[in-house]
Symmetry: C2
DNA sequence: CTACTATATCGTAAAATTACGATGAATGTT
DNA sequence: AACATTCATCGTAATTTTACGATATAGTAG
């Protein structure tokens, strides 16, 4: 079916999954790494940096914007993208908590 | 195409993306949360816990096993799943570093 | 050995993802 | 006004994902 039954899971589970999913592609990892590294963040620079076409990069940017991890401000003819601090920190906290929750347990 | 051009990205980018992708579904978040919470970890219990069919749960377990986040040990007729500490900690470190790398920057 | 239980795998269908070129919209330049 | 630049969106194709029922496999019990 290809459709996840999101209604059946908790809000937290869905939010965590959405954030992880947004980062679940090497191009999108590359984009956030690039945005973190460079202070400047014009869309065209990202396109130059990635081995993908302009339209594909635009699509990946849209995915990241959808979950709020990045935001874009129009600056004349171009668009300045950057990490959205609030959402980034929220994701950091949520994902961090998920990983912290695990304590070594000698299971099977 | 639906095929990511993994060859074009760094090993780290691909590994991070694969880990994030594995966690990019609410059912798989629910599975790891459940494995963390309960000391016991029989597959059937996970199926009972989730609003999905046995075969679908098995598929999700396979995805998590593929990236190594969990491992399954055969115990008689059933299978005991649990977090793989090594991979879990590696993922925690890698994802943690990605999030730590960002420092507040007054961009656009 | 037969029957039962637990899990994986197969087959399949619907939907989503990834990717690209082409087109469109908005802004800036000449 | 005409044109170039920047980016988003549309149309489209291949592939992957999600999901389920049915079937296969392996172990346990009787």
């Amino acid at each position: 079916m290809g459709l996840s039954k999101t209604e059946e899971f908790t809000k937290t589970q869905n939010e965590l999954a959405a954030l992880a999913k947004a980062l679940g592609h090497p191009a999108r990892i590359a984009i956030v790494q690039y945005l973190i590294k460079t202070r400047v963040c014009v869309c065209g620079d990202i396109v130059d940096e990635l081995p993908l076409s302009q339209s594909t990069v635009s699509q990946h940017l849209k995915e990241l914007k959808k979950v709020g991890l990045i935001k874009g401000n129009i600056e004349g003819p171009s668009v300045c993208y950057c990490i959205d601090e609030k959402v980034w920190n929220r994701a950091k906290k949520m994902i961090g908590e998920l990983f912290e929750a695990y304590q070594t347990q000698n299971c099977c």
